[in-house]
């Protein structure tokens, strides 16, 4: 009940924060030097043509008016028009969103699948050779630039072996799985390393507390103790990291999306910023803001479920 109240209170706080974010972004991007008319018409356009386009798009009106118009449209579900593609944002969004969600989920799943066994091995053989080997090995992908790894994977799997496609998103679920495997793997590298290290550390921590001794004293065997108590409590910082990672992943996967030619949200956001496609940036940011806050809320709600000692709110 307490948790429910907390959740409702937090959701209530989401709206004003989201609004604040939209105002911030609106001002930030409008203040950026350069405008979409110039970005689209290019170097050679006449000043007249640029002014005309500017006026057509309502960009010559005072800032607050533009903001109000945007918010008004928002309420009716109109996310604005991409000035660059001359298409409503709502038309372009679904496919982009799908690509990014698929990619991020895939990569986090791969990360967890890799990190958990690695961390368990390292923690249960602390300071002996399996532990040292694991920790040394994960430094390699951690310190490798994403695009370097990505190209390496492409050379090996797409070119030399020919097992996987080199670029694009494909059509249909199984095709997507094939196209997204290498990008998801690349995206998972750094995060696997981070997860493994932190999980290992948490496992070691929890192993040494009286909480676990108590569980053992209750007569639970090693396996049960490991999975029911240690793992759950150790997951606390992991959940935090996953939460933060998801928020950053959406915008931060732009390098992967560029290398593998995936039409995702990250590269769309960057391209839109670079071409000053205001509406797109606004709407995407709003979506990110809500998404990020929901994820933060979700991780906060999960804490007490994982470790009964935690009280939120």
């Amino acid at each position: 009940m307490h948790l429910l109240n907390y959740a409702i209170r937090r959701i209530g706080q989401t709206l004003p924060v989201a609004l604040l974010v939209t105002v911030l972004i609106f001002m930030l991007i409008k203040l950026l030097p350069g405008d979409p008319a110039t970005a689209i018409l290019g170097e050679r356009a006449s000043d007249e043509a640029v002014r005309d386009l500017y006026r057509q798009w309502g960009l010559d009106r005072p800032l607050w008016q533009q903001y109000v118009m945007y918010m008004r449209n928002l309420v009716t579900g109109d996310l604005g028009q991409s000035l660059r593609y001359r298409t409503p944002v709502t038309e372009l969004l679904p496919r982009r969103l799908g690509v990014t969600l698929f990619l991020v989920t895939y990569s986090i799943a791969l990360s967890i699948a890799l990190a958990v066994p690695l961390a368990v091995i390292a923690a249960t053989h602390r300071d002996r050779w399996p532990d040292i080997l694991v920790r040394a090995l994960i430094t390699v992908p951690l310190a490798s630039p994403a695009f370097w790894l990505g190209i390496l994977f492409l050379i090996v799997f797409a070119l030399k072996l020919g097992w996987l496609p080199a670029a694009g998103y494909g059509e249909g679920f199984t095709d997507h799985l094939r196209h997204l495997f290498l990008p998801a793997l690349t995206l998972a590298q750094a995060f696997t390393a981070v997860l493994t290290r932190n999980l290992r550390s948490s496992l070691i921590d929890v192993q040494t507390t009286t909480y676990v001794d108590f569980a053992r004293a209750k007569g639970l065997d090693r396996q049960a103790v490991l999975f029911r108590h240690i793992l759950r409590a150790a997951l606390l910082p992991i959940v935090t990291l996953i939460g933060v990672r998801i928020s950053f992943a959406i915008g931060g996967s732009v390098v992967i999306e560029t290398v593998f030619a995936l039409p995702g949200l990250g590269s769309w956001m960057v391209e839109s910023i670079l071409s000053r496609d205001y509406m797109v940036v606004q709407s995407l940011t709003l979506a990110f803001a809500f998404g990020a806050m929901l994820i933060n809320l979700a991780t906060d709600l999960v804490y007490p479920l994982l470790d009964p000692r935690v009280r939120v709110g």
Partner: protein, 285 residues
Amino acid sequence: MSTLVQEQRIVADTGGRPRLHPAMVIGGLMLLVIVGASLLAPVLTSYDPDGQDFDQILLAPGARHLFGTDNFGRDVLTRVLYGARIDLRIGILAVVFPFLFGSLVGSAAGYFGGWVDTIVMRTVDVITAVPFLVLVIAIVAFLGPGEVNILLAIGSVGWVTYSRLVRGEVLREKNLEYVAAARALGFHRWRILLGHVLPNAVAPAIIFLASDVVLVILTTASLGFLGLGVRPPSPEWGMMISEGREFLSNGWWVATMPGFACMYTGLMFILLGDGIADLLRVKGQ
């Protein structure tokens, strides 16, 4: 291995006597090596990091150029050494300050709760919501490209992870027995927070810090990839990796050598970080 033996081992580990961790020793040595090499760069190599020689472009690593040359004929080893200064600086500044600030703020939020928590966490929400790249592009557009501005951008966003990590730990710690005991003894709130809770809560943050340094250096590479990195012709590793990606097939050393330097630095910070975390863990028990 019987449960009894295992328990004994665990008890022995928390015996309370901090010992000199081998990881810290190795990490410390590595740090000395790289700091020394970067400071002594003008002595160690006679090449100019900006010296172009169009007859020597894209030479493979060999006797005269241990790390080869890039597409301008510049010696890659020289650039890596001079670049170490820049990257160590960026790595530490862009991580240490966010770590300090984030841990402090996060622990306060977790410990005091209430409106402190709300303000801090909603600020975190706002910052997480602003796409990092919008921020970087804005800063670069207003203030121009360059090291300081990159630091500003990365730092202003980076503290968020630390605050959330520490806050999560503190939320758990504050309900533990030793805190109740300290309160009963009349210790001041801040003393409890900073002296007892924080050292216990900060381990995950330190672990992450080690990874974060490397991630920051790689972020400058990504920024370079997107055209937002430090100004050319700076020998910053991230930029070198990004500029060298065109030559992965006919001049792999241009991007890979600075990549190895990143890995070296990553390993170094990880070892240091693990050592410090172990120290704190022992101390806190």
